[in-house]
């Protein structure tokens, strides 16, 4: 009994301290953002929100509005899909170069160590790949979008590029973690049969990593369908652009139609991706 108590006490203290720190953070943040939870929960605030929400109804279901929303949804879908494909094309090679255990260290290099000059070169390649992934990931999609609009002009194409480049950085990191974490036993077995590095990669590492890699790519596609809509705010078409216009011009009924469209497409992509991931893993 005594041991249980003495083990529980530090945990209780940690919880208390953690709670106090979190509470202080929240007070500080609410002060800085001028958010008053009291006002937020007040009847007046709810009434205002209700007024705004009720102004949206009914949705504009005239053929023209529905057609416009459908076009936006198709564009958004196209941007998200191509952005995700481009992201895999960027992220996969960079992640292979950015994985220590594949490039210069560990099991693959036990039997035949690298000559020092080549090892230095490989470490440099590894570091460069990591640095590139960091830059791609750090710059938010929307900033990439502005950069690409600056480069190639308005339209959905810069949206595709922005999604591909940023998500490429994210996927590169996630892929790297998967590749680093594969079971070593099959690789050892392959090495014992005399397989070279490339064969170990193709027959040992990739088959183990593949389901997880595909699952991550699908997961990012779910994220990207939401982000693809945002690209419209910087002039890259899709639902975002239409939502922007509808909000700015107070076209509330059309706005609701567009919101329904975005809800529909996001939910469908989420469900489809979840189904594929469940089948895969």
């Amino acid at each position: 009994m005594a041991t249980v108590q003495s083990a529980a006490r530090p945990a209780a203290w940690t919880a208390l301290w953690g709670g106090a720190v979190v509470a202080a953070l929240i007070v500080w943040a609410s002060y800085g953002t001028q958010v008053d939870l009291g006002t937020l929960a007040s009847a007046e605030a709810w009434r205002q929100m209700w007024t705004y929400a009720s102004r949206l109804f009914p949705p504009d279901l005239s053929p023209a509005a529905v057609q416009d929303a459908a076009r936006g949804a198709v564009e958004t879908f196209a941007i998200s899909l191509l952005g995700s494909v481009l992201a895999v094309l960027i992220g996969l090679p960079l992640s292979l170069l950015g994985t220590r255990s594949l490039v210069f260290r560990g099991l693959l290099y036990e039997a035949r160590p690298l000559p020092p000059a080549e090892k230095t070169l490989r470490v440099l390649v590894f570091a460069a790949a990591k640095a590139v992934l960091n830059v791609l990931r750090t710059v938010p999609e929307i900033v990439w979008a502005m950069i690409f609009v600056f480069m190639v002009g308005l339209g959905p194409f810069p949206g595709v590029l922005a999604l591909g480049v940023h998500t490429g950085g994210v996927l590169g990191k996630l892929f790297g973690e998967v590749l680093e974490g594969v079971e070593p036993a099959p690789l050892e077995a392959l090495q014992a049969t005399g397989a070279g590095r490339f064969r170990i990669l193709v027959y040992g590492v990739l088959p183990q990593a593949l389901p997880q890699l595909v699952a991550y790519a699908l997961y990012r596609w779910e994220v990207n369908i939401r982000v693809a809509a945002m690209m419209g705010f910087v002039g890259a078409g899709g639902l975002g652009q239409r939502i922007h216009i509808a909000i700015s011009l107070f076209h509330e009924h059309q706005l609701l139609t567009l919101l329904l469209a975005i809800y529909l497409i996001v939910t469908v992509v989420d469900a489809f991706s979840a189904y594929l991931r469940a089948r895969l893993l």
Binding site: I26, A29, G32, T138, I142, G155, P156
Partner: protein
């Protein structure tokens, strides 16, 4: 300790191999959608390599260096940087306030089925359990399917510019995600302790408090922290629609073609994100 292999692991797939057309259909659909999307998104890789694009990039890159590091500018950017952090904290807090009650209601094992409700009447279960369950699931699904920047844009219209709409947007969109994941975590709680408590005659509240919460808490904390990491990134982006923080400054500098300022701002953003990731990662490693 030696494991005797009974069957090669490949046998797991033998039954489905050859019979199923699924992979082929999937591949065909994928290729068709990509081809369709290439046309739909007006992809012209050639544009990337023409002289105009190269000149634009050169102008952009040349403009970025050296980054704007004058003390005046840095001092001016301190406030937006702090604001971004505060938006992420406050947004996550509101998301938790929304996510916990809705997540609890959206958990079928808590609201209408399973060991907690064995003794409830069928009608009571339907009215007091299933209806709130279905409603809260629907609300959560709407909250998370509308992206946070669309929420932000609507809230900017409703309450004006500044950090407040950013906080609300993160709160609502992430509240939807947290609620869903909380309910999945609660649903996945091991049933044994609950049945034991039930058999010992514990009330419903006691079962939740002593059986469900202790099992779920580490995962709930870890996922909330992960969402906070996402929130700091999101709060930077929300500025682009006028919701305060670093994003608003990046947008301004971008529009003024002050690329040296953009580089500095991206550097600040990187430090903020890395700092939050580090803190959150440390806590997550300890909790889980």
């Amino acid at each position: 300790m030696t494991r005797i292999p009974t069957a090669p692991p490949a046998d797991r797939f033998a039954a489905s191999r050859g019979k199923s057309a699924f992979p082929w259909i999937l591949t065909a659909a994928f290729v068709a959608s990509v081809a369709f999307s290439l046309r739909e998104a007006q992809v012209q890789p050639g544009v990337l390599f023409d002289r105009q694009a190269a000149a634009n990039v050169a102008r952009f890159v040349a403009g970025m260096f050296p980054p704007q590091l004058s003390p005046d500018f840095l001092a001016l950017m301190l406030r937006p940087a702090v604001e971004t952090l505060q938006i992420s904290v406050m947004g996550t807090f509101i998301a938790v306030l929304i996510g916990i009650p809705l997540g609890l209601l959206a958990t079928s094992s808590l609201s209408w089925s399973g060991v907690l409700h064995e003794r409830a009447s069928r009608r009571g279960r339907w009215l007091l359990g299933f209806v709130p369950y279905a409603v809260s699931r629907a609300v959560l699904s709407v909250f998370r399917a509308i992206p946070e920047y669309v929420w932000a844009f609507m809230f900017v219209r409703a309450v004006g510019l500044g950090p407040f709409p950013g906080v609300l947007a993160i709160g609502v969109a992430y509240g939807g995600m947290l609620g869903k994941v909380y309910s999945e975590i609660l649903e996945g709680v091991g049933p044994r302790p609950l049945e034991t408590l039930h058999a010992a005659g514990a009330s419903r509240g006691a079962i939740v408090l002593y059986g469900v919460v202790p099992q779920a808490l580490p995962n709930v904390i870890a996922y909330t922290l992960y969402r906070w990491e996402c929130a700091i990134r999101a709060s930077a982006v929300l500025g682009f629609v006028g919701a305060g923080g670093l994003g608003q400054q990046i947008e301004l500098s971008m529009r003024m073609f002050q690329f040296d300022e953009v580089l500095t701002l991206l550097g600040i953003l990187f430090l903020l994100v890395a700092g939050v990731d580090f803190v959150s990662g440390r806590i997550r490693a300890r909790v889980a």
